[in-house]
Amino acid sequence: MLYFSKLRIIFITLFSLLFIAIASSNLFKFDDDFFDKKINLGLDLQGGSYLLLEIDNAPVIEQKLQNLTTTIRNYFKEQNIKINNIKIEGENIFFNVDDQSKQTIIDTFTDENSDINPYYPRFKSHQLNIEDTGLNLKVNFSKQGLITLKTSSQDQAIEIVRRRIDEVGTNEPNILKRGNNRILVELPGLDDPMRVKSLLGKTANLTFRFVTNNENDSFGVEKLKYEDGIEEATVSKRIIISGDNLLDAQPKMDTQTNQTIVSFSLDRVGAKRFGKATSTGIGKQLAIVLDGKIISAPVIRDTIASGSGQISGGFTFQTATDLALLLRSGALPAPLDIIEERTVGPDLGQDSIDAGMIALTIGFLLVIIFMFVKYKIFGLITNVTLIINLFILLGILTLFEATLTLPGIAGIILTVGMAVDANVLIFERIKEELKDEKNNIVAFDSGYIKSRTAIIDANITTLLAAIILFFMGSGPIKGFSVTLGIGIFTTLFSVYFIARLFTSLYVAKNRNKEKLI
């Protein structure tokens, strides 16, 4: 165990130096792209926001079912089947047909080439299930249909979320899918988390609709509140133009009224419809509705054929900027709920770094002093090894560009405390061996060999705990498991290669000395 070939010594030295160099690169700034890897600081250290958003799919499902009732009615009308009493209850559609048509309808729904019920060959499932309850027919989304629906609304939502966040201009946001109805957003170094939260909290569903007094409007009407939450107006359900028709939106200052407004331009279809509506509707009020609330409802004075217009509504510059941003980036398919938020201010992050570094330094010093007092020269060997170990650990974290969190720093400190364990096991064993064995080299050799199983067992147990934490933990805790886990490998390497190398060199020189350890 004590013999090292020259090649091995060179390898160990180079390896250690390499990692010391990599770890040190965190301290310097390289101008070129020679080596630009660095340890990432977690949100808890550099400040920033962690937001977990959940997509509320209920309105989407309701809307789809709503559309489906029309589709079903029209589709079977063409086949001369009359659908009666069609209604939505919960997430189901119920309807009645005469008995002889029942089977035709069920067959239409369960046909693999069905026009109204898409079939997913990959999952061997239709989008919709149909069931004869006896009283009526029941249609609802199949498990796979629901998953497809959720995935598609998640895909759309993540795109919109990304656009909105990009517009705010945070550096290096991290936007990830979680499950099939959640989106994780990590925003490092964010100045104003509340603004982002309010931007993500809005669906930004914009519609232009006529204000009407005619309760019998063929599209239906609804009563909507103004932004102030007090005034109300009756608005037709017929949508003239929607947010989808917008090409651009910008905040502007109206020089005549000295008000902040949002000016917009429409695409071709939108411009045409807007022109038609404004020419036929002169004198009428056109309500601008955002997420079910009326922003304003100006009276149409002229035909607007240019395809551009403006929204006023008592905006401040900030609210106008945000509204324009929301309109540019598009509407979310469904509302988002922020179900988890963790925001750390930059100064707390810095305080945490400082505290972590102080704790690391002091912990390190305490362990080093303790080991030196206890083992003298071998304590020194352990300590030098410990320092190299720390550099290798940091080097690996740098190489993988791992994220260092506050619990991660705790993991490093804990590694320092536990890293000496392997050396202690070896040294204590050697001491025991020296009681019966006078030859230093033989005693050291068997000390290393006999302590091996205990060291490996002991480290594997800690590693297992770290692995479980890695898979079960989230955010900062994951950072702890990473440093703890990598720390085990670097510790074993440094104990069995570096410390053993030093030990063997020392023992070879002092082979005849008594009470070596």
């Binding site: 988390p193 909290g201 179900i339 988890e340 704790a359 405390g417």
Partner: protein
């Protein structure tokens, strides 16, 4: 040589009482779950006005209709930790609080940290925490069962349960907060306690092979003594490192390091007085380990 085995029965009794009390506490008093597991909102504030104090802040917060609010000093004199349930999961609650505080105290507050955990997420976090701890215990059991005979496995796992239950018992007794980092600490304790037990067991097994005429009662004591200096040194260095985190690592790591410190102490104790006594009570002998060798 210290006669650890003289006190096997005494300490078994004490441990039984400790576990019993801890279980009673856990069942009847329960744990003080933080917002990670209970849901709710946490705000860490720093005030720049020395006239602001806890009671004025507490008065202000209790007027805000937030339900059950707790306002506490956090670390130094200018930092406060505010916690409330946020039952209705109001979206703009932080903004409202900021406006309210600015109105009463002027713009003197720095929102250093805001955490908001919805009820769904907290339930999931709690579940995954429980799964993580159960899974780690199961894996440890499995590992040691592969490496040693079942008697050793039982001893180690009883020691683990002891450490986890008693540590949680202390947290319950002093109403210390259980959050995500405590779960991390408990898992690390599991690893550490196992580590410590394995080192002694490894020696017990070795001695069982070596001496056929020494009874397990004596043999465990020899093994404990042979590994004692290692046990002390490793516990000491680990505790030194943890103490550094506890004292200098900032408020956020306080609970974590405290749990770890307790765990290391209990873990060291249980390796000696629980894991080994199980071997004694199960009358482990040379046959136990020789049979294992035959199988290999």
């Amino acid at each position: 040589m210290i006669a650890f085995n003289k006190y096997y029965n005494h300490f078994n009794l004490i441990s039984s009482i400790l576990i019993f009390c801890s279980l009673i506490l856990l069942i009847f008093k329960g744990l003080n779950f933080g917002i990670d597991f209970k849901g709710g909102t946490l705000i860490e504030l720093r005030s720049s006005d020395s006239k602001i104090n806890v009671s004025s802040l507490r008065d202000k917060f209790s007027q805000m209709n937030l339900g059950d609010v707790s306002v506490k000093k956090f670390g130094n004199d200018t930092d406060y930790l505010i916690k409330f349930e946020n039952k209705d999961n109001k979206k703009n609650i932080i903004e409202e609080i900021k406006i309210n505080l600015d109105k009463s105290f002027g713009n003197n507050f720095n929102f250093r940290r805001v955490e908001n955990v919805g009820p769904k997420v907290s339930a999931e976090l709690l579940r995954s925490g429980v799964i993580a701890i159960s899974l780690s215990l199961a894996i440890m059991l499995f590992y040691i069962w592969i490496r040693f005979e079942w008697q050793f496995s039982l001893g180690a796992i009883l020691a683990l349960f002891h450490d986890v239950i008693v540590t949680l018992g202390v947290f319950s007794l002093f109403s210390l907060e259980i959050n995500l980092s405590i779960i991390a600490a408990v898992l690390t304790i599991v690893g550490y306690s196992m580590n410590d037990t394995v080192v002694i067991f490894d020696r017990v097994r070795e001695n069982l092979r070596k001496y056929s005429d020494i009874k397990i009662f004596e043999l465990t004591n020899i093994s404990i003594n042979e590994t004692l200096s290692r046990t002390i040194i490793t516990s000491a260095t680990t505790l030194l490192a943890l103490l550094a985190i506890y004292l200098f690592g900032g408020e956020i790591l306080k609970g974590f390091s405290l749990a770890m410190i307790l765990g290391v102490i209990f873990g060291t104790y249980s390796s000696i007085y629980i894991a080994n006594t199980v071997l004694v009570r199960l009358r482990v002998s040379q046959k136990t380990v020789l049979r294992e060798d035959d199988q290999k």
